[in-house]
Amino acid sequence: MSEAPKIRLRDVKKAFGRKIVLAGVDLDVAKGESVVVIGGSGTGKSVLIKSILGILLADSGVIEVDGEDVTQTLAAAREATNRKFGMLFQGAALFDSLPVWENVAFGLIQREHLNRAQAKERAVDTLAKVGLSADVAELSPSELSGGMQKRVGLARAIAGNPEIIFFDEPTTGLDPIMADVINDLIISCVKQQGITALSITHDMHSARKIGDRITMLYEGKLIWNGAAKDVDNCGNPFVEQFVKGNAEGPIKMQVRR
């Protein structure tokens, strides 16, 4: 019998007013697997991740983490579930009132109740894992470049040794070389430590590199799901148009002229 999925979504729906964003999403992510959700801007990829994290409440459906339906849990239990998660936000979302080391150590101080000296030591070690020196630890997030902010965000996400990490557009806004550096860091942090990862991106190079499996979200549903190596020849016209970046195809962009 195969192992139960780490994350299991069934018929998850979410709408904002009349706008339906998720129209019944089904998704399984196995333990240690890296799944990438691709899709155009505004198709609900971030809403999907935020619904799993409990930042947004799904209107209906089942969201299970380790077999527990987190849509039914109370706030305190929800906080306990969130201890399994790490998250790299699109804009890094670093706390600009805190120095870099305290950003990385935030979860260690709040969740694990480490004292500040121990937490700082762990933070500096974690920063080293993402290629940042100890000098950076004392800087303010506003003093860092976009690529460095992403690396600090990644360090914060992995500092608490999470079981599951979410990556929201990890390479958006970065130059190709820095994007590849981030991809490599994600692979080394996630795959080598056996962490389950769910990423959302529209950067196909990144999706192919960091994902074991790719799935595409379109009009609120996952319309294709398969191995990352098959994404270029999947036979689905929607996916092929998106992967090749063609303006012509079944996906129509609403552009006013």
Binding site: K50, L53, G54, I55, A75, E79, A80, N82, R83, F85, G86, M87, F89, Q90, G91, A93, L94, F95, D96, S97, F106, G107, Q110, R111, R156, G160, F166
Partner: protein, 259 residues
Amino acid sequence: MNFLALIGSVVLGFLSHIGRLTLFTGEALSHCVRPPLYPRMIARQMIDIGYYSLPVVGLTAIFSGMVLALQSYTGFARFAAGSENAVANVVVVSLTRELGPVLAGLMVAGRIGASMAAEIGTMRVTEQIDALTTLSTNPFKYLIVPRLIAGLLMLPLLVLVADIIGVFGGFVVSVYKLGFNPAAYITNSYDFMKPLDVISGLVKAGVFGFIIALMGCYAGYHSKGGAQGVGAATTNAVVSSSILILTFNYIITELFFGT
């Protein structure tokens, strides 16, 4: 849209706003009495609200006291001879009951309410509040509760200082410009002032501090739409807390001194 629909939409919008504010207040209060609290954050907010507001509140108080003494003196001079002696009484009662808490409240609303709304609003639009949630930290406990507690505790202290500085301002003008006897002025002030004058002012200050923090946090927490949204949140925080301060000033005055 017809006229009735427009009225209905405005009323519904207003009621929904009141409902959200009530829920927000209830949730914030419930987190105030449930651990964990964040002493470090509370201390930081106390310094921000209390210590860093001292110059602006002090300056406002001293000039208010000085103007009050001058205006009372020239005003009373129009009436019965000798009524100028009531200057000390008017200054101390006006400052402790009304001007101290209201002026300090309005100044702190402009300084702190706006900065709270801008800081929390920026955290909202840059996903820092979402990041707190992913780090198993309740944003209410980490961001809102420390500000509410600090506002509630620090405003009375600020007003106490403002009362002393304001009375001193009145003393300086009365003694050095209007030629009052310093000892008589101090005796008059002390004899005429009742504990209830000061207590009512401090109660007002506590309520105003809570209102400033609440409206600043509420506006920031619900801001959206980038820089423009944060700007609107800042304006809303200052305007709404100023209006509420003046409204609650009347209500509390009625409760203490209403006949």
